[in-house]
Structures are given as structure tokens and as C-alpha cells.
């Protein structure tokens, strides 16, 4: 663990990314304390510029943008993390069984995965949310459902490589059951690439959520960054900050997560370590 942290620290950009993420998490956690009222509440005149009466100004209807950013951070992080967990669960199970059993199971699961991969993922997410009616649960399900195929392929590859390793064979000779071999023996050995891909997936989940909210397919009762960009876009020429501020928030979050993901990759993948 110490060794891991030492290697992670060596990547300056990753440490920077981690700091940003921690700041966003702190903001999200503190949002109900800093802004106890609903972020949808009208607080003053519309189109107040930033750094005036309200720190980041007010929007089209006179809502406090700062409160929106803070509460939006909750939404983005929540959806990003939960959708990734859903994707990791499906992807690991499908990929694991596919790689471990091979043959017919592999064919069946991989053809299913390819079926999902051939549908453009964003369109597919829109369709899912539209069918399931926009709500935070349906967004999580939709984002998870379009994100798992790459995980499944990755895990399958790892399992294929591990399956014929002698330590796995030793377990089979011992009489260990298949599920135990899969989850107890092989999975812990494939966890590093899963963590790295998962961390990067949080960023893409946040992007998909923002895009859905921008199109008006977000949960109408929950403030989100994508919704704020969408609401401000018609006034881009008169009040550009309404789009720019939540846009920058999205940019920072996604950038930070990517930097951390790359740092994790360096730290967890000793093959890339320099001599």
C-alpha cells in the first residue's frame, strides 16, 4: 500500500487531479449545509453577473448559480459512481464467465456484448431514459447499460490469460468449485486493470449524464450541471457565464478523474514502471 502511494505520488498530474476530485467531493458533501434551501428556489433578479450579490450570479429565472453548482456536484458524482458500479458489475460477470468457461458460453455472451457495442451508446442511452421515464434511477441504469461492454471485453481477456495459469489448475485439481476459482482466485489478480478502466468510466458517465440533462432528459427534480448548461444555452450571447460556469465544472471533474485514472494505471501496472 505504501509502495502504491509512493508510485502514485511520482505522477504530479495525478496528484493534482486527486486534489480537484477531493475538492469536488467536499463541495458535494457540504452542499446541504452551505445551501440548505432547494437550488430551484428563486432568490433574486435574473441574469445577475458573477461576483456581485451572489458569488456566481443568478440564472434565467433568478436562481442562485452557486447553489446549483454545489448541488449539481452531488448529482454528477452520484450518477458517475453508481453508473460505473452497475457497469463494472455487469461487465465483470459477463467477461468473467465468458473468459472462464469459453466455448458456447463465451460465444453466447460475446455475441450479446457485440450486439450492445454496435448500437451508438449515446443514442441507446437516450432511448432507454425515454422509455424508463427520466429519473435518477433510470439515468443510472441507462448509463450503466451502455458502458459495460468494454469492461466485459477487458475482463474476458484477463480471464482467458489467467485460466490456464498453473495456479488456477492447481485449484481445480484440489477440487475447488468454479465460482470460488472465479471470484476468489482469478478476480483478485485482474483487479488492477478493472480499477483503472472503472476510474476512467466515472468521467464518461458524468459526461453522458450531463448530455442527457442538457437535452432535457435529466431528473426534473434534481439540479445537475448538464441541466444548467441546457437552461443557459439560449442566452449564450447575453449571459455566457450561465453555460460557461457549469461547463467548466464538468471539464474540471472529467479532467481530474482522467488524470487520476492515468496515475492509477502507472501505479498499479508495474510493467510500465521504469527501471
Amino acid at each position: 500500500m505504501q509502495d502504491f502511494w509512493r508510485r502514485f505520488k511520482r505522477n504530479r498530474a495525478a496528484v493534482f487531479g486527486l486534489a480537484i476530485i477531493l475538492a469536488i467531493v467536499a463541495l458535494a458533501l457540504a452542499a446541504p449545509l452551505l445551501f440548505p434551501q432547494s437550488p430551484f428556489r428563486v432568490v433574486g433578479k435574473p441574469f445577475l453577473p458573477p461576483f456581485g450579490e451572489y458569488f456566481l450570479g443568478t440564472d434565467v429565472l433568478g436562481r442562485d448559480v452557486t447553489a446549483g453548482i454545489a448541488h449539481g456536484a452531488r448529482t454528477s458524482l452520484l450518477i458517475g459512481v453508481l453508473a460505473t458500479v452497475v457497469a463494472l458489475l455487469i461487465g465483470t460477470l459477463v467477461g468473467g464467465f465468458s473468459g472462464y468457461y469459453g466455448g458456447f458460453v463465451d460465444d453466447l455472451l460475446m455475441r450479446t456484448t457485440e450486439f450492445f457495442q454496435t448500437i451508438p451508446s449515446f443514442i441507446f442511452a437516450i432511448v432507454l431514459v425515454a422509455i424508463l421515464t427520466p429519473s435518477i434511477e433510470s439515468i443510472i441504469i441507462a448509463v450503466g447499460a451502455v458502458s459495460w461492454p468494454p469492461i466485459a471485453r477487458l475482463v474476458r481477456g484477463e480471464f482467458l490469460a489467467m485460466r490456464n495459469r498453473e495456479f488456477v489448475q492447481a485449484c481445480l485439481v484440489m477440487g475447488m468449485g468454479d465460482l470460488r476459482v472465479i471470484f476468489q482466485q482469478i478476480l483478485p489478480n485482474t483487479i488492477s486493470p478493472i480499477i483503472v478502466t472503472g476510474s476512467l468510466m466515472v468521467a464518461s458517465a458524468i459526461l453522458i449524464e450531463s448530455a442527457l440533462s442538457f437535452l432535457g432528459l435529466g431528473d426534473p427534480n434534481i439540479m445537475s450541471w448538464g441541466f444548467m448548461v441546457g437552461a443557459g444555452r439560449t442566452h449564450l450571447r447575453t449571459a455566457w457565464w450561465l453555460c460557461a460556469i457549469p461547463g467548466i465544472a464538468i471539464l474540471l471533474a472529467v479532467l481530474a478523474i482522467n488524470l487520476v485514472g492515468e496515475g492509477l494505471n502507472d501505479a498499479l501496472n508495474p510493467r510500465l514502471r521504469h527501471l
Binding site: Q169, G175, M176
Partner: protein, 550 residues
């Protein structure tokens, strides 16, 4: 006139910080004469390959680099030469053959393109002459139909043919020095014998000085004029081959030679009158590879086991010997159902192992256990030693505390400190890991232990210790041992009965003594003849306390 081709003076090669020692090679001196084969012997990590690479300036600089000394070749210090000058020397004046003929050849170029490239780089020669020269050399290395071979890709050739092509490539410009880094280690024993005699003949004919790196004393006995023994990056003994092999002076050399298994079979044990504990009848397995989008047509079928019959008695060691691809590992894996055989029966006492579904088989699995070849791949890197060993008994219902206790006891039995139970596999050496693998197999208290090449990844001194351990355990626990090996010397020392396999068939099966001293089948005779250093009678010396590695 300088009597030496290559002079290495006080060579030192530094390792990067954090390595297990500061120098890979230190204070190393060596002289190579024209027309001799100088064998450099040592165990893994002795620095022998690093030394050879330093001569070619192929070290991964700047992490690993020569820090002191000189390497003189025809009056020129190679360590001080420019990269451009080194490129001129490599391939034309000094050339090298590598261990792995598959990876040393470029898979997307024909043999002709690769050999011709060497000529292009160094000389101008008319097309016709080039071709004639290549054909002549391929004929010299005894490749059949040289013109066809020239237009073949590496994957179309067998391992032995590839190594011959490599040798042809190395010799095409008649270099003064040939460095051979374990050139026969990846080859089967019969192929190895041919390649060794080929190198010997060509070297005599061209008066090439050969620096031959190897870990195998049998090979040394077969080919060397002079021998240099390396340990921990230092030269510990140097002399004429006869002298080093028969009257070694340094204790390390003695311990190495003492660890070489003798080809004379051990004294036979009385045959157990009880019926066999394991009986294999008419076992068959065909591997089919198919092509096409949905599997469909089968393209190639390899018969890996064909009507195999075996019987293993109580506390007996049965050896299955054969070359790679003979099906010996397939048979072992069929017995434990890691591979599903096509037909046949395997009877363990009163239990039919093949008639059960995989799920129903599980309770019986503990009666046959397996020790694997690769000491690095056979232990789960994420689990502690105690967990690795106790896993099996726990699967079969032993409470955790008891299983852990048994694990500690077993560590002691296999000669490891019980305190090492809380460490991870990567903290152990290859031999120690193999001991852990044996402890894991024994944890289930099996009646039969299958050992699939358990010592072929180990150094010779460690190999001797592991073989001793296996023999001890077999006698102490009354185990029956099925021992799979390609090494006839090992088989001679370990086995009571031997089955010789060729292309999936058992061609000869009988008492080890009979097979080694009076082989019936021509293939068995061929195998025994090919054992390197067969005519070398191992010297016996009193055991010095220093000679034994702890």
C-alpha cells in the same frame, strides 16, 4: 601475433540500484583462442549471459552497463568502440546465436531475406554469389532442400530447423568469434544432440572461436575444450574441460557437478504384489483445431494420447519420458481431468475417475494431487503461503484453524521455516516456491502425486534438492508418484518404472533398469544416445561441508 581472439580483462558490469547485488559481473578475465569451444557455465543469475552481452555491447544501457575493464578483439577495445564501429563488427566479425529460435527470427521475413540482410549490411556481393553462399551454408548446417528453406517463413520450420537457420545466419560472413547463449536449451534432446555436433563440426572447419554459454554440465562434457565456471558474477574456476569435469578444484564447481544426476539407474525396489492403485486403460485424446466463423470444420487433428495403458503401484515411482509434443503432459492432465479425454478409463482403487461428472468428481480429487512445472506461475501471487497450502483442505471441509496448522506442519516437512507462512510467494526463490507447491499438494493427503516436470525450471543444485525431497516424501508417506520429465538423467535417478512416449503412444514400458540398460525400442535407444555428456562418467568426491548448498 596475438594468440588470443578475444581477451576480457577485469570486466565489471554494474546493475541498477535496488538490484540484489551491485555488479552483475566483476573482476572477470577470460581468453578465447581461435578454433576452440570455451564453455561458460553457471546457474541462473551467475552473470554468464550479461557477460556475453557485454562482449556484443547489447546490454540495456544505461541501466546495466560495463563500468570497468577491457574487452579486446583483434587489438581493439570493444568497450571503447563507437556504436557505428560495433555495428560493423556485429554479425561480420563476432556473431551470436540465441536461446529461443522462434523469437530470435523475424516472423514476417523469409529465411532468405533475413540471411541476406546480414550480407547487405556488411558487404557488397553480386546477387548470384549471395544466393550460392546461402545455399551452401544451409547445406552445411544440414538443412534438407536448402532452396525451399530459403523461401520459408520461420513458423514453417521446426525448432531444430530454425536453430540451424540461425546458425547459418550467424556464420554467413565467417566470423572469427561465435557467441552461443544457451543455443540448445529450448530444444528437444535428440535435436540438441544434432545441433551440438553441428556446432562442433562447423567450428572445426572454419576455425571459429566459440564462446558457449550454458547451465548444463552434460552439454559441457559433450562440446567443451575449455571451461569457465561462474558464480555470482565472478570466475571461480577455469581450465581444460577434462580437468574441470573430472577433478574440479573449487567447492562450488564440485557441488554443481555433484548435483548432476547420473544416467545409471538407481537400484530397483521390490515390486509391490498388491494390485495397482492407479490403472489407466486405452486412454485417447485428440486435439482438434477448427477454423471458420462458427467453428464448423475441423482443420487439424493431433493425437496427443493414443491407447495409453499405465499401471501405478503403491509407493512406486512411474516416469513418463518423452520429447515435447509427445503427449506426456496431456496424459497427466487427463488423469486429473484438467483435460477431458475422448475415451478410455482411469481407475483409482475402486473409483472410476472418468465416469463421473466434474461436480461429482470433486470429493475424489484430493486422492490425486499435482505438482506443476513453473514455480512462478503455479502459486497465486495474491495469497499468502499459509492460505495457499490450507485452501485445499478447507475446500474439503477442514476447519480453518486446523488447516492452517497443517500448513505450518507441511512447511516444516518440505524444509521451509514455518514462520514463512505469512509471506507472499514473490518473496521466495524458485526452489522454495517449488517446495511450497509440493506442500500444497501434500496438504490433501493424496495417495498419488503427479509431478509434471517439477524440476525442469530449476538450477541443477536446487533440482537435486527437490528430487531428494520428493523421494523422501514418497518413502515417508508411502505415496505413489507419477513423474513426467523430458530429462532422462532425472528419470534414471527417480523412477522405478518408465514409460517412453512418442507421438501420443507409449512405445516402451517397463522397469527403469531394463529400459536404461537394455532398451528395446529404437526410439528409446535414440533418446538415451542423445543425452548430452553420456560418455562422461561423473566423478565422485567426498562431500565437503562447503559443497552442499543449504
Amino acid at each position: 601475433m596475438n594468440p588470443f581472439l578475444l581477451e576480457i580483462d577485469n570486466l565489471a558490469v554494474d546493475l541498477p540500484q535496488g538490484a540484489d547485488r551491485p555488479h552483475a559481473v566483476s573482476d572477470f578475465n577470460l581468453r578465447l583462442r581461435p578454433g576452440e569451444i570455451l564453455c561458460v557455465v553457471g546457474e541462473s543469475g551467475s552473470g554468464k549471459s550479461i557477460m556475453a552481452k557485454a562482449v556484443m555491447r547489447l546490454l540495456p544501457e544505461p541501466h546495466v552497463r560495463a563500468s570497468a575493464g577491457r574487452i579486446l578483439f583483434a587489438g581493439e577495445d570493444l568497450l571503447a568502440s563507437s556504436p557505428a564501429r560495433m555495428r560493423e563488427i556485429r554479425g561480420s566479425r563476432i556473431s551470436m546465436i540465441f536461446q529461443e529460435p522462434m523469437t530470435a527470427l523475424n516472423p514476417v521475413m523469409t529465411i532468405r531475406d533475413q540471411i541476406e540482410e546480414v550480407i547487405f549490411t556488411h558487404q557488397e556481393m553480386p546477387k548470384e554469389d549471395r544466393f550460392q553462399r546461402m545455399v551452401r551454408l544451409l547445406r552445411d548446417v544440414h538443412l534438407p532442400d536448402p532452396e525451399r528453406i530459403l523461401y520459408s517463413y520461420p513458423h514453417q520450420l521446426s525448432g531444430g530447423q530454425r536453430q540451424r537457420a540461425m546458425i547459418a545466419m550467424a556464420l554467413i560472413l565467417e566470423p572469427a568469434v561465435l557467441i552461443a547463449d544457451e543455443p540448445t536449451t529450448a530444444l528437444d534432446v535428440t535435436t540438441q544432440a544434432q545441433i551440438l555436433s553441428l556446432i562442433r563440426d562447423l567450428q572445426k572447419e572454419h576455425q571459429t572461436g566459440v564462446l558457449f554459454i550454458t547451465h548444463d554440465f552434460g552439454v559441457v562434457a559433450e562440446i567443451a575444450d575449455r571451461v569457465a565456471v561462474m558464480q555470482h558474477g565472478r570466475l571461480v574456476e577455469f581450465g581444460e574441460a577434462k580437468q574441470v569435469l573430472n577433478t574440479p578444484q573449487h567447492p562450488y564447481t564440485r557441488s554443481l557437478i555433484a548435483a548432476v544426476p547420473s544416467l545409471t539407474p538407481r537400484d530397483p525396489k521390490p515390486v509391490d504384489p498388491q494390485p495397482a492403485v492407479l490403472e489407466v486403460k486405452n486412454l485417447n485424446k485428440v486435439f482438434r483445431s477448427s477454423s471458420g466463423l462458427f467453428g464448423g470444420r475441423s482443420v487439424r487433428a493431433v493425437q496427443a494420447a493414443k491407447e495409453v495403458n499405465l499401471a501405478l503401484h503403491r509407493s512406486e515411482t512411474l516416469g513418463i519420458v518423452g520429447e515435447s509434443g509427445s503427449g506426456k503432459s496431456t496424459v497427466a492432465r487427463c488423469l486429473v481431468r484438467l483435460i477431458e479425454p475422448d475415451s478410455g478409463s482411469v481407475q483409482l482403487g475402486d473409483v472410476d475417475l472418468l465416469g463421473k461428472s466434474r461436480r461429482k468428481l470433486r470429493p475424489y480429487r484430493k486422492r490425486i494431487q499435482m505438482v506443476f512445472q513453473d514455480p512462478f506461475g503455479s502459486l497465486n501471487p495474491r495469497r499468502k503461503v499459509a492460505e495457499l497450502i490450507s485452501e485445499g483442505p478447507m475446500v474439503h471441509g477442514l476447519p480453518r484453524a486446523e488447516a492452517l496448522q497443517r500448513a505450518r506442519r507441511l512447511l516444516e516437512l518440505v524444509g521451509l521455516d514455518p514462520r514463512s507462512a505469512d509471506r507472499y510467494p514473490h518473496e521466495f526463490s524458485g526452489g522454495q516456491r517449488q517446495r511450497i507447491g509440493i506442500a500444497r499438494a501434500l496438504a490433501l493427503e493424496p495417495e498419488i502425486l503427479i509431478a509434471d516436470e517439477p524440476v525442469s525450471a530449476l538450477d541443477v543444485s536446487v533440482q537435486a534438492q527437490i528430487l531428494q525431497l520428493l523421494a523422501d516424501i514418497r518413502d515417508r508417506l508411502q505415496l505413489s508418484l507419477l513423474f513426467i520429465t523430458h530429462d532422462l538423467r532425472v528419470a534414471a535417478q527417480v523412477c522405478d518404472t518408465v514409460a517412453v512416449m512418442l507421438n501420443g503412444e507409449i512405445v516402451e514400458f517397463g522397469a527403469a533398469r531394463e529400459i536404461f540398460l537394455n532398451p528395446k525400442h529404437s526410439y528409446t535407444r535414440q533418446l538415451i544416445d542423445a543425452v548430452p555428456g553420456k560418455s562422461w562418467i561423473l566423478p565422485t568426491f567426498k562431500k565437503t561441508p562447503k559443497g552442499e548448498n543449504p
